[in-house]
């Protein structure tokens, strides 16, 4: 058995659908503003004006670009695999939107006597959901690269995929560290557990790992090797134009919004913040938006400051630095929490276990660490 579906009347349905539609378009509009903000901040840092014409101070520039792309001729290259070629941009966009579903962006509001939470779904496995959607994000890129029937997209997509999966591990480890602190996978619980101190303070290494991995997951500079235009033209979306290109672009920026929102939710206290008591539902929302804008600003700042990293350095940084640090941090967090608690009763057994484990590991590692000896039959070169 599963519990019977809770009784929902037409008002519940309308509120549910309206909530989802509002969030969806809010994310779209936030992407629009985000792209404008990025261009303005970039212009400011490079002492130029940036977009000025469309709308007041150029705020509608993204809309203008979008309309232009919408009416642009779409090209399907001769060698492309048509169904997959059309599918790829849609697939690139959807997981980014879905990942946003578990993020609480406020406390909620009471409408017509019903509580409307500011969150699409508070899943029990919230963090896992985020990670799963992140792993699906790779498909848009792989399929775009393969189906284009062209060399640069293929090379770019393989490179990009390797980069994304490498940093996904680091991101997962950072999430595990948060999880150990909050003891729940549910986003609302994680926000609730930060009522006294934000996770970013005790979990600072995890926060740093998350931000760096997020940079790589969103393919943003300085980790924008998939689009390294000097070597790969434009990477996996070389063959895409018009609305299909716009979708990749949209997916990328929705992803940036999502990564920043998750950073805020898991590490910066979510929607929490001091606020006056009147219009109580509004302030958490504003706090959330302010924090997300701050994280996005950080990402833009990094983009404008750092040059692109060489591919081999990118991969070694991910594998040789981020992952070992992440694993050690997880174990260290565990040790700090557990050791003071239970030193005593089971110490004999567990101590023995640790020693056995250490010996086992040392014996397995020894052949690797030990200086290599020349075996008898081999002649030195």
């Amino acid at each position: 058995m599963l519990e019977a579906a809770p009784e929902m009347d037409w008002l519940d349905w309308i509120l549910l659908v309206a909530r989802v539609v509002v969030v969806f378009f809010a994310v779209l509009i936030s992407v629009m503003l985000l792209i404008w903000m990025e261009r303005k901040v970039a212009a400011d840092m490079q002492t130029r004006m940036g977009p000025m014409r469309a709308g007041p101070r150029g705020v509608l520039i993204t809309l203008a670009d979008g309309i232009k792309l919408f009416f642009k001729e779409g090209i399907t290259p001769t060698l492309a695999d048509r169904p997959v070629y059309l599918l790829a941009p849609v697939i690139a966009m959807i997981p980014a939107f879905l990942a946003f579903a578990v993020i609480p962006f406020g406390t909620g509001v009471t409408l017509f006597g019903r509580h409307v939470p500011f969150q699409i779904a508070d899943l029990n496995v919230g963090i896992l959901w985020v990670l799963a959607m992140g792993s699906l994000m790779v498909y848009g890129i792989v399929l775009a690269g393969w189906s284009s029937g062209s060399n640069y997209p293929l090379l770019g997509s393989i490179r990009s995929t390797a980069q994304m999966i490498s940093y996904e591990v680091g991101m997962g480890l950072a999430l595990v560290a948060v999880l150990m602190y909050s003891g729940s996978l549910q986003m609302s619980q994680i926000v609730a557990s930060q009522d006294r101190v934000w996770n970013a303070i005790p979990q600072f290494p995890a926060f740093a790992i998350y931000l760096i991995a997020g940079l790589a997951e969103t393919n943003r500079p300085p980790f924008d090797l998939p689009e390294a235009e000097t070597e790969l033209v434009a990477g996996y979306f070389t063959e895409y134009s018009g609305i299909k290109f716009a979708m990749f672009y949209l997916g990328e920026y929705v992803n940036l919004v999502v990564v920043s929102s998750i950073a805020v939710t898991l590490f910066l206290g979510g929607w929490r913040g001091p606020h006056p008591s009147f219009v109580a539902w509004l302030w958490p929302l504003l706090w959330f938006i302010a924090k997300v804008v701050a994280v996005v600003y950080l990402y833009i700042w990094v983009r404008l400051t750092l040059p692109r990293i060489r591919y081999d350095r990118l991969m070694s940084f991910g594998w040789k630095f981020l992952i070992p640090i992440g694993l050690l941090w997880v174990l260290a967090t565990g040790a700090v929490v557990v050791l003071p608690d239970v030193y005593g009763k089971g110490a004999l057994l567990t101590g023995a276990l640790i020693v056995v484990g250490a010996i086992l590991v040392a014996s397995l590692l020894w052949p690797l660490i030990a200086p290599r000896r020349q075996s008898a039959g081999e002649t030195p070169q």
Partner: protein, 145 residues
């Protein structure tokens, strides 16, 4: 529990509709005047050439994907542990330490055998024997990723 997924299903439907509708409507409204040159794969102005079949990429990409699966599984095992490790106490910590250490052995092995080095080692062959006429080109392609 399943009812929690209802809003997500609505969101997914909306996202799919949005994607498909914008592709479809744009296809109806935009101009469509294909020419042979326009539809050719992008190749910086030279004749499009296919990457030769056979080994097209460094096998390292495959090792990275393999390594990723291993660490992904490890991360997944960390999830249920992280939720309940306070109740499991020192024993749980030791358990996880042994588990991580064993996977770490594999990690160290890959590192030592060069699986994590992305810079191509200087070809030892070049010093030993001059490459044949065909080889440099083939190596260029293999290294392109």
């Amino acid at each position: 529990m399943l009812s929690e997924y209802l809003p997500i299903a609505v969101l997914a439907t909306l996202a799919v509709l949005f994607g498909v509708a914008s592709l479809g409507v744009s296809a109806l409204l935009r101009p469509n005047r294909p020419t042979r040159a326009k539809l050719a794969p992008y190749e910086c102005g030279i004749e499009p050439a296919r990457l030769p079949a056979g080994e097209r990429f460094p096998v390292k990409f495959y090792v990275v994907a393999m390594l990723f699966i291993i660490f992904d599984i490890e991360t997944i095992f960390l999830f249920p542990w992280a939720v309940g490790f306070r109740q499991l106490g020192l024993f749980g910590l030791a358990e996880m330490a042994v588990f991580i250490a064993l996977v770490f052995v594999a990690y160290v092995y890959v590192w030592k055998s060069g699986g994590l080095d992305w810079r191509e080692p200087a070809p030892r062959r070049a010093a030993a024997a001059p490459p044949t006429a065909l080889e440099p080109e083939a190596r260029e392609v293999v290294r392109a990723g």
